[in-house]
Amino acid sequence: MTGARVHHVDLSIRNIAAAEPLYDLVLTHMGYVKGKPYPRGGGEWDLPDGSSIGISPTTGDNAERPHDRYSSGLHHLAWRAESRADVDALFAKLTAFGATILDPPADYPKYNGGRGYYAVFFADPDGLKLEYVWTP
């Protein structure tokens, strides 16, 4: 395998100031460290391996267009949790923060061939769907 690693994912966000605290909470929980700001606003969070998540402000004619995960683009993004307890720990932080919870931590026996799938689904202020999942 050559490139089966993410280098980075950049997301367009309507209101950086509103979204940044949530991304900071989530990504810090996962071990990312706040990195360089972007010239246009927003910035990135980095993992020690150099991969990153970036957010930058929307712009242009569709800057305010609501996100729809059923139209072309991001459907959702899921990060790997270390354990079921880790999923619960992030959920506790998300609820304390007041994040939009789409589905609280639960088992999804229909996923992963029934071998275990425990996940929390939540949304950022623009409605981008994010997931934190543990699979054995």
């Binding site: 980075h8 950049d10 970036g54 729809d68 139209s71 990060w79």
Partner: protein, 142 residues
């Protein structure tokens, strides 16, 4: 969490059947194989592992035909990691032969980091994809 890949990433595309060949080329170059596919989906994974995976899903609902705009809320772009500059060039040659939409041919982007070398291209919906090499020395940012 120190995984260098997500657990999974799902992308919505207007037509997975139409988009599949490009993703087979790109993700195939990166080591993924097509695991399952139909009219409404295409799933890519690594070897016999179920995760990580990347899945294309067919757009639906009232905005099913809405054009992707990376400057509107959502995905701006996705970059996978190349193992060398030559690896970036190798993918670029495949993309050209395939007839993919090249946004920016392989080039150095020193503003993005020391040794940053990448090709940018688009899928049939205009979703921006990138294949990037950065040297290990440039990855000690944290």
């Amino acid at each position: 969490m120190t995984s260098n890949f997500f657990h999974h990433l799902d992308l919505t595309v207007s037509d997975p059947v139409k988009s599949r060949p490009l993703y087979e080329l790109f993700l195939g170059h990166c080591g993924f194989t097509l695991k399952s596919a139909g009219e409404t989906w295409a799933g890519f994974g690594l070897g016999d592992k179920r995760y990580p995976c990347i899945t294309l899903l067919k757009a639906k609902g009232r905005n099913a035909k809405r054009a992707h705009d990376r400057y509107s809320p959502g995905l701006h772009h996705l970059s996978l990691r190349a193992k060398s500059r030559e690896d970036v060039d190798a993918l670029y040659r495949k993309l050209k032969k395939f007839g993919a939409t090249i946004l920016d041919a392989p080039a150095d982007y020193p503003d993005y980091g020391k040794g940053y070398y990448a090709v940018f291209f688009a899928d049939p919906d205009g979703m921006k994809l990138e294949y990037t090499y950065t040297p290990p020395s440039a990855e000690k940012r944290v």
